[in-house]
Amino acid sequence: MKTRAMILALVLSPAMLAGQATVAAQSDVRAMLVARGIAPALAESVAVVARETSGRGLSSQPVVDKAVEGWFKHVPPPRILAAVRDLAGRMDQVRTELRGAGLAELDGSVIGAAAESRAQGIVRGDQADIIRAAKSPTAASAGLAVSAALVVQGLDARTSARLVVESFRRGRTASQVLDLPSAARALQMRGTPTSEVGRELLEGMGHGDDGGDGGDHSGRNRPRAPLIPPRVDND
């Protein structure tokens, strides 16, 4: 009898802890949102969406961030709630699609970045190629975000994804991949048509270069001169 009681205690403890953790997480999200000035009613609703998102194994952080962004922009609460639900739904959909592409276990940040890049037209196959080519979840997130940024710069989605994939395959780190938009912009400012920018960068990679700047395959610490002086102040 005593043994049964101990076994029962050990079996029930994780369930009780999991339940407490879920409630605590929801309370934490609500408290955090309220602390940031969000109305308690909206905070409660967002916390519920965040809990559902976490319950599906997705990161709730993008949902929380989106709610905060909407609140500070004075967006009406119903619209904020609709936006966070839409974001959570898109993350769920992207994860399902990437699972269909054979990527079963994905980090939450990668799924968030994939949802963002999908909005810029990066399709499932290209997303899967970027994630597979990246060496870590951090690199995959950066690669997906860069591919989306390149589309915003005017490159077509397929070329943007190929640039990121090829960079990773040639040993570039996440930080180095973040230089791709800078190299693309440099070519654009030199007068290269946007439709040609991707091709030139890909050809440059073929020669161990990402745009004529003496590309470095050995590591990110070696200083490389940019194509043009970027708009940056390093104090």
Binding site: M1, S60, Q61, E69, G108, A145, A149, S175, R231
Partner: protein
Amino acid sequence: MSDGLTRAANAMRDGLKSPGPEFTERVMAEVRRMPAPRRSPLHWVTQPRVVRVRPWFIPLAAAALLAMWVAGSRYGASRGMGQDALAVAARDTVYVRFEFAAPTARAVNLAGDFNGWKPDATVMSRGTGGVWVATIPVAVGVHKYQFVVDGNTWVPDPAAGTTDDGFGGRNSLIVVGPRGVVRS
């Protein structure tokens, strides 16, 4: 009076016959034939009992709880809780100069995912020609932002590419790489 009652009680007791051992056996046989009462699955949980906890069980239970706590923390971390999902791609930080021309504005602030979208977090300074300027450290990565004019008007950066913000507006996009900044 009392003696009368006692006598009456004794007379009644003497009149009673002992049932004998065969009666007890017959009753118990009948009881054994009856089906056992159904017990709730939670019977032995709700039934009070004495539980003796042996000394070795306490550290074992503490270790089990600690293991579950650590596993839960790591699970939460792996799910990105407490992280900026897209914003931080590396630990490097770069000072970025933001500029916005608004000659008639009384105040311009900068809000983005790098400062939690707080409109009052980054106050821009008015420069020459009505150009407002702010230079702030931004983590290497891809970021979204807008300018806040006179405290209530959110405006995307005309010098940067934009993406849908999900609320019917447009966020400006900035890619902060180790070598430089591109406003996509």
